[in-house]
């Protein structure tokens, strides 16, 4: 088992960089344009108006802090769990939008990079969520339990 450790370590680091990098990138895009992001959330028609505004201001910062925590390996299990939770919420929101046949932007990476294809966004949120859960299970304080 000891022999496989370095490969596993590298693979985990790649996953960490991928997850942290994606979330950091997404967060920065949305932090730059909170109003546009609020409009994108509004289009999902899931939340009352004041909540969409609050979420548009808060969510990108939570994404940024979680990605920073993952990359810096501080509070890592918590950050991974929160990321997995966010991905779960994104997955539900996107799937509901897709089922309701809404013609909207995902809003995932801010408005300027408005590339919209809901099935892809759904698959992506699922993949990122699973990745976060997997890293969570691998994190020292959890696996040592």
């Amino acid at each position: 088992m000891a022999a496989i450790q370095p490969m596993k370590t590298i693979a985990l680091w790649i996953c960490r960089l991928l997850l942290g990098g994606t979330f950091a990138y997404a967060a920065v895009q949305k932090i730059a344009e909170p109003t546009a992001f609020a409009t994108d959330i509004e289009h999902f028609r899931l939340l009352p108006h004041p909540l969409t505004l609050a979420l548009a201001l808060y969510l990108p910062w939570l994404e940024l802090f979680c990605s920073a925590a993952v990359l810096a390996r501080k509070y890592e299990p918590s950050a991974l769990l929160l990321i997995a939770l966010m991905c779960g919420v994104f997955f539900i929101a996107l799937t509901s939008a897709w089922c309701r046949d809404l013609d909207i932007n995902c809003g995932c990476f801010g408005h300027s990079n408005a590339t919209s294809a809901l099935p892809w966004a759904i698959a992506r949120s699922l993949a990122l969520g699973l990745l976060a859960l997997l890293l969570f299970k691998q994190s020292p304080s959890v696996s040592s339990q």
Binding site: M1, A3, I4, Q5, P6, M7, K8, T9, I10, A11, L12, W13, I14, C15, L18, L19, T22, Y25, R73, N105, C108, F109, S112, N113, A114, T115, S116, A117, P119, W120, A123, R124, A127, L128, L130, L131, L134, L135, K137, Q138, P140
Partner: protein
């Protein structure tokens, strides 16, 4: 040296190579490694769908402010095919009939640049307008790129309000609307177009010379339905002029 290294500390590459060689059958006994690899591949597959589209845009948002005389606003979105294969733009669609988006051609070789010309016919629109253009390529037929044309059409005159209403049987009271210059343009003259409709009497008074005027209107009768309008001509300090129109109803 006795303490084990932290789990995230990478070992020297030569060591790693050696271990990989030795441990070929080992992954079967380490399913977590495979799982992380699978998750990595899964995510890597999805990544190109959002950040590495082959068309690279100089900008995806253009902001314009129109001049009073302009009838259309045009914006050109430039792109370059930064990929290694020819890209075909399969669809370019504007969010409203008032905006057209045209392409010189549809196929772009690697390294080739092109542009999407958008023309937004202003019509009688005023204020902030945002029109979007969806672009789809054969690279990813399910994903589209949205280009935004944000146009500010200055409103030269503001009315508060533009419609005055009396109810049938109301007392013959006067009603007032305020016409004011928007932005920094000064009003040089404002005159009511004559003759006035015979159903009303009207009076124009300055509130703040050059900026704000009030129009006081009184109907001759409110016993029956009325639908008339008052027109005026406003000349600004820079010699441009603008028509104004106020609607008067008895209902």
């Amino acid at each position: 040296m006795t303490a084990p290294p932290p789990p995230f500390c990478p070992k020297p590459a030569s060591n790693l190579f050696l271990i990989t060689q030795q441990s070929l059958p080992m992954p079967l006994t380490a399913p977590t490694f495979f799982r992380s690899l699978a998750a990595f591949i899964l995510t890597a597959l999805f990544l190109p769908t959002f950040c590495f589209g082959t068309l690279t845009w100089t900008t995806q948002r253009i902001e314009l402010t129109t001049k009073p005389s302009e009838k259309v606003a045009t914006g050109n979105f430039h792109f370059v095919n930064s990929g290694s294969e020819t890209v075909t733009i399969t669809s370019v669609q504007a969010s409203c009939g008032c905006t057209t988006a045209t392409l010189e051609k549809h196929r772009y070789a690697p390294g080739e640049a092109g542009e999407i010309k958008t023309v937004f016919t202003l019509g009688d629109r005023v204020g902030e307008q945002e029109k979007s253009i969806s672009v789809v390529t054969d690279e990813s037929p399910t994903a589209r790129t949205t280009l935004l044309l944000h146009v500010t059409i200055p409103e030269l005159l503001l009315y508060a309000p533009r419609l005055l209403i009396w109810n049938i049987g109301d007392a013959l009271g006067e009603k007032t609307t305020v016409i004011s210059a928007n932005s920094n343009r000064q009003i040089a003259t404002i005159t009511l177009t004559l003759p006035l409709p015979k159903e009303v009497t009207a009076l124009l008074e300055p509130v703040e010379a050059g900026m704000k005027y009030k129009l006081i209107v009184r109907p001759v009768s409110t016993t029956q339905v009325m639908n008339v309008s008052l027109e005026c001509v406003v000349t600004f300090a820079d010699a441009t002029s603008q028509h104004c129109k106020i609607y008067l109803l008895v209902r």
